[in-house]
């Protein structure tokens, strides 16, 4: 059971109310917390989680995230670990000079930076769409609450 949130000071509590209205722990000992400061337990009824989770739109959001994040993670892990593996186990190949004194090992290492920036850029582009969906899911919830 989430603890009941008191809005009135307990009788006999003489602690003065002070500080900012948004403090996590209200400075008066028994005062209520503002909504955004509630912990998970106290805030349990903020939404019907199962109902949100069952929304097709929310399921779509999760699927779309998975479709991007899983392959992107696999890609960057493989691309990154190819570097220490090749450098460690094929030093002959990696010391081959490609461009003046620059060898394969250095160029491959340098390419990692651009790989990381590239994946990050793609992620940000994809995430823009997810923000939109998440906003719609929340809006729907708020609307429905108004009707009920």
């Amino acid at each position: 059971m989430p603890p009941k949130i008191q809005t009135e000071p307990e009788p006999g509590d003489q602690t003065p109310e002070a500080g900012s209205a948004t403090d996590v722990a209200p400075l008066g000992r028994a005062g209520g917390k503002p909504g955004h400061e509630l912990t998970a337990d106290e805030d349990a009824d903020v939404a019907d989680w199962d109902r949100v989770a069952a929304e097709p739109e929310f399921k779509g959001l999760l699927a779309s995230k998975r479709r991007f994040i899983v392959p992107a993670t696999v890609f960057f892990v493989v691309y990154y670990f190819a570097l220490p593996l090749l450098v460690g186990y094929a030093p002959g190949l990696m010391s081959r000079r490609v461009f003046g004194p620059l060898n394969l090992a250095y160029l491959f290492a340098l390419s990692q930076f651009f790989m990381a920036w590239g994946v990050a850029a793609l992620y940000v582009r994809a995430a823009g769409g997810w923000d939109e969906t998440a906003r719609r899911v929340i809006e729907k919830l708020v609307e429905r609450r108004g009707e009920e």
Partner: protein, 535 residues
């Protein structure tokens, strides 16, 4: 010498000003621990970069590259690619589902007391490892910088320690954030300037620069000059275990960053997940440029100053400052040394605040007092006391250790602990419905234990020194190492995952499984997450 001292004092004055300003502005717990969640995306990005580019990056990597060439650059690569793990896997869910510490997400659907206790222990461990590295860097820098002015290693470490306590105790997260921002900008400016000077030395010809890097001459172990291609891999990581060690280092770096408590807490200072994402991107841009430039710092030091001269004047950690001295004289040396100081100071402040937040929020309030703050403002007060204690302990450890090992290497050990203990539990609690309290405690426990035991059994602690080696340079245990690798990641990270997985399988926890849906909805939509507060 006096120039560098003046520059350092100027930085201290500015940061103390910031602390005073922040102390007047921050009221309340959210303000103290999370800067009121009002930090903007770019600001937090610069602060993340500032938190991350520690003495290990500026002093340590430059040193490893200057001494062992290409193999040192592997640190630079790993440190940046690691941010993809942060960006893709942890940053946004963490911001949406947590409040102040890494443990908030873990405790979300698990039993809070055991989980928070373990998470707090691992946060303190990782922070201490990280802090040792910073303090060693500070000590080495001071003994070089002020070698004939009577300021000793000890007094310098005490000075740095006291300053960091002041920032954290009085300024909280807001002051710490702004100190990071100022420092990150200074560090980037110094690094870019230094790189330009290196290129100017070679007549702005990349061909000439890399040609020099391919022919670096230094005195070999037998006393005769050796000429070596520094772009060639294998100068540090040699057979038979070099390849495995390189892999192990890579794993520690790439999976460790997403488990570093002082980086994770930064995502609580922004208003929402979108801003958290923006701040990772800002950080990646800054950090990436910085680590590419370590090419010029490290190879520049190798070619312009030379291994022999660096070894005579303070050792590997002093490569970047010595390069500045060779290129820009004493004024520039002072500027770069002041930046290095600022770097250490700022990172130590960031570490202290994350360690003290974790102790106050996770251990004191939630474990000992079962989530009840008994008196108004108690949590903040406990955090302030913890900052004092953590500061004092790290001053003592740093003085006892003295300036010895390469700081980038020391930090890599902190990454290994974070990757083995924290990351498995964070990932499984976010993405595995079946995960439970036993799994979290077992995962944190095995990861922590495995990484620390393997470090103790590794060649960095266990090794037989020739009798000529004396004092701090001697290995702690004079015996052949049991574990052959410098970095434990390759074994301890799988062990951490295995511990978490098997621990979870030993029992079912219906309440944890029931709350998984709620966590997923919160993590993906930001529903119910704490918003920014004006301050």
């Amino acid at each position: 010498m006096t120039t560098s001292l003046l520059m350092f004092l100027a930085f201290v004055a500015v940061t103390l000003g910031i602390t005073y300003w922040a102390a007047r502005r921050s009221t309340g717990t959210s303000a103290y621990f999370a800067a009121g969640r009002s930090i903007k995306g770019w600001q937090n990005g610069v602060a993340v970069a500032g938190d991350y580019m520690s003495a290990a990056s500026f002093l340590g990597i430059a040193g490893i590259i200057a001494f062992q060439g290409y193999d040192g650059f592997m640190y630079s690569v790993g440190f940046l690619v690691a941010y993809l793990t942060v960006l893709l896997v942890v940053a946004e869910p963490l911001r949406n589902a947590g409040k102040y510490t890494m443990a908030d997400v873990l405790a979300y659907r698990l039993k809070p007391r055991p989980v928070r206790a373990m998470a707090s222990l691992s946060t303190l461990t990782v922070s201490t490892f990280y802090m040792i590295a910073q303090m060693v860097g500070a000590g080495a820098l001071v003994s070089l910088l002020l070698k004939d002015s009577g300021v000793t290693y000890q007094s310098a470490v005490i000075g740095v320690g006291i300053l960091m306590i002041v920032y954290v105790v009085f300024g909280g997260m807001l002051a710490t954030t702004w100190v990071q921002i100022v420092k990150a900008i200074l560090l980037m400016a110094g690094t870019i300037l230094l790189s330009v000077l290196v290129m100017a030395h070679f007549g702005f010809s990349f061909a000439a620069f890399f040609d020099a890097v391919a022919h670096v001459t230094y005195t070999g172990a037998d006393g005769r000059p050796v000429t070596q291609d520094f772009l060639q891999p294998g100068l540090r990581y040699r057979p038979p275990y070099g390849a495995l060690d390189l892999l192990s280092l890579g794993m520690a770096l790439v999976f460790g960053t997403a488990g570093l408590p002082h980086i994770l807490v930064r995502f609580y200072t922004v208003p929402d997940a979108k801003t958290a994402r923006a701040s990772v991107v800002w950080a990646m841009a800054i950090i990436g440029v910085f680590y590419i430039l370590t090419t010029f710092l490290g190879f520049g030091a190798a070619t312009i100053v030379g291994r022999d001269a660096i070894a005579r004047n303070g050792g590997t950690n002093m490569s970047a400052p010595l390069l500045a001295q060779a290129l820009g004289g004493d004024v520039f040396f002072g500027f770069v040394a002041a930046i290095a100081f600022a770097t250490i100071l700022a990172v130590v402040a960031g570490l202290t605040i994350s360690a003290s937040t974790s102790f106050a929020h996770d251990f004191w309030t939630n474990v000992i007092h079962r989530g009840v703050e008994r008196a108004p403002g108690e949590e903040v007060r406990v955090a302030r006391v913890t900052a004092f204690v953590v500061g004092g302990v790290s001053i003592v450890i740093a003085i006892v250790l003295g300036p010895a090992a390469n700081v980038a290497f020391l930090v890599a050990l902190a990454f290994a602990v974070a990757a083995s203990a924290n990351l498995p539990v964070i990932v499984l609690s976010l993405f595995w419905r079946r995960f439970n309290t036993r799994g979290a405690v077992a995962g944190l426990g095995t990861g922590l234990l495995a990484s620390i035991v393997l470090i103790l059994l590794s060649p960095s602690i266990m090794s037989v020194d020739p009798p000529a080696v004396t004092g701090a340079a001697r290995h702690l245990i004079q015996a052949d190492p049991v574990f052959p690798l410098e970095n434990p990641g390759i074994l301890s990270i799988p062990l951490g995952f295995l511990g978490a997985f098997l621990g979870a399988l030993t029992g079912r926890e219906p309440s944890a499984e029931a709350k998984y849906t709620e966590l997923t909805v919160r993590a993906n939509t930001g529903l119910g997450a704490e918003k920014a507060t004006p301050h």
